[in-house]
């Protein structure tokens, strides 16, 4: 079942002539993880803002095309410290900020908040003041705040940017679990090596337009390597002059090693 559909979407930020998105079409189904990849400025963050109904409603600007949302969405922006509510002195209250704004009953809020804290492995931080947390801890708190609102469409912009490798792996595992529960997930990431194990589909954006859509195998193609969106292993394989198709991951490479 399609949860989110963009049809020929073009978007201009206020006071700009060049569109940040150009005729982007994309459908995301329940239980699917779609990874947005591309160079900085390719339009991935803007696509997420459009999908979250924040652009142009909050950002201003102009949108052409159609966006169909069949479910409630939630978004995590790239910088965690700007997403603090400023009204909570404990992590628990910070995570509860969103559900409370939705007007849920207290016991429901408590259930979702506790569950989200456990899922992000930050239950031990519940009583801490959010402003005393490290960047990685804060990133998890913000993701927990999103999950506590129980959105059907989860939109994430560089969700592992502040995390150490173990924390990043934990977030990627969580995304697979959420997809298994039927949530539609769109994640913009520059951590290309994680994409093959996480994403069902990859959308490669370039200058605001979709350059290619396909399986994660896309990241092992010559064009992706030339465009700077190939995985590290594929790049090494290619640089070594070994024959295509290039492996996507270390495990792939080990299997194919001649």
């Amino acid at each position: 079942m399609t949860r989110l559909a963009l049809e020929e979407v073009t978007f201009w930020y206020p006071a700009t002539r060049a569109p940040a998105l150009r005729e982007v079409s994309l459908e995301v189904a329940a239980g699917e993880i779609v990874a947005l990849v591309g160079k900085v400025g390719a339009g991935a963050s803007t696509l997420l803002l459009v999908a979250a109904d924040l652009a142009p409603r909050v950002t201003g600007g102009r949108l052409a095309g159609a966006v169909r949302r069949r479910a409630r969405s939630g978004i995590v922006l790239p910088t965690p410290w700007t997403q603090l509510s400023g009204m909570a002195f404990t992590v628990w209250d910070e995570v509860a900020f969103g559900p409370a704004n939705l007007g849920w009953p207290g016991h429901e809020i408590a259930r979702y908040v506790d569950h989200a804290l456990e899922r992000l492995e930050i239950a031990s931080l519940a009583a801490r003041d959010p402003v005393t947390l490290s960047g990685g801890e804060l990133q998890r708190v913000i993701v927990a705040g999103l999950l506590a609102m129980d959105p059907d469409v989860v939109l994430l912009d560089e969700p592992t940017a502040e995390l150490d490798p173990a924390g990043a792996r934990s977030v990627w595992r969580l995304l697979r679990l959420l997809a298994g529960e039927g949530k539609a997930i769109v994640v913009a990431t520059s951590e290309l090596d994680a994409v093959p194990d996480v994403a069902d589909r990859v959308v490669w954006l370039e200058d605001g337009a979709v350059r290619a859509i396909g399986t994660p195998q896309l990241l092992a193609e010559d064009a992706a390597g030339d465009g700077g969106v190939g995985t590290t292993v594929a790049g090494i394989w290619r640089a070594a002059g070994l024959a295509p198709p290039y492996p996507l991951t270390v495990a792939d490479a080990v299997r194919r090693w001649p």
Binding site: L54, G74, L77, G86, M87, G98, N101, L102, G145, M149
Partner: protein
């Protein structure tokens, strides 16, 4: 004092400046300024005493330049009461408790947030200013020394502080929208602060006191 209901704290911080302006000078202003600075000087809050005095001092200087001593004292005490009351309020009023209290009363969450965010912005801006100063020091800028040096350092601090704050406003708006802080939202109060009968009596008493003082002055 921090355990008092946020509305009680607001009532005190509003009543003191109101009385300072209503009651005859200089006695009224002296009494209210005394109470306001007395509150600010109570244990645990003394850190706010010095900033309040520093903030009030320029008003006294300008008043003295513009008026005679009698007027300066009259207006200066009133302004000092306002400054001390606000600093005291910022020190004792937890923004999250205020939001909980207003939400429990069915007030608009956006209005409550506007007030609470203003109070919570102060420590955030202080922390950011500290980080910017440290970063500028690493690049060789010294905020000490001559007046010219200090002015140069101030410019190097103010510009990134203002620009980063403006940038943050954009992102924070998006984040708050996505977290359900929208106009007309009916927020659930997570932990409404207890509102004791005695505090309600005090609030009504302060209101009646202000009204009585006003009637007395106008009569």
């Amino acid at each position: 004092m921090r355990a008092l209901h946020p509305f009680t704290l607001l009532a005190v911080a509003t009543a003191l400046p109101a009385l300072a302006w209503i009651l005859p000078a200089p006695g009224g202003g002296l009494a209210t300024a005394g109470i306001a600075f007395g509150l600010l000087g109570s244990p645990g809050l003394r850190r706010g005493l010095w900033p309040a005095l520093v903030a009030a001092a320029p008003f006294w200087v300008f008043l003295l330049l513009l008026h005679d001593v009698r007027t300066t004292v009259a207006i200066g005490l009133r302004i000092s009461t306002m400054v001390a009351s606000f600093v005291w309020l910022a020190a004792v009023l937890a923004p999250d408790r205020l939001v909980e209290a207003t939400v429990a009363r069915g007030w608009s969450i956006t209005a409550a947030y506007l007030f609470a965010a203003t109070l919570s912005a102060v420590p955030m801006l202080k922390a950011r200013a500290r980080r910017i100063v440290e970063a500028q020091r690493c690049r060789g800028l010294s905020p000490r020394g001559s007046v010219a040096n200090r002015l140069r350092a101030l410019r190097a601090l103010a510009l990134p502080l203002v620009l980063s704050a403006l940038h943050e406003v954009d992102e924070r708006t998006l984040a708050l929208e996505s977290r359900g802080l929208v106009s007309g939202a009916r927020r659930t109060s997570l932990a409404p602060p207890p509102d004791r009968v005695a505090e309600r009596v005090v609030r009504w008493g302060l209101l009646l006191l202000c009204l009585a003082a006003l009637v007395w002055r106008l009569a």
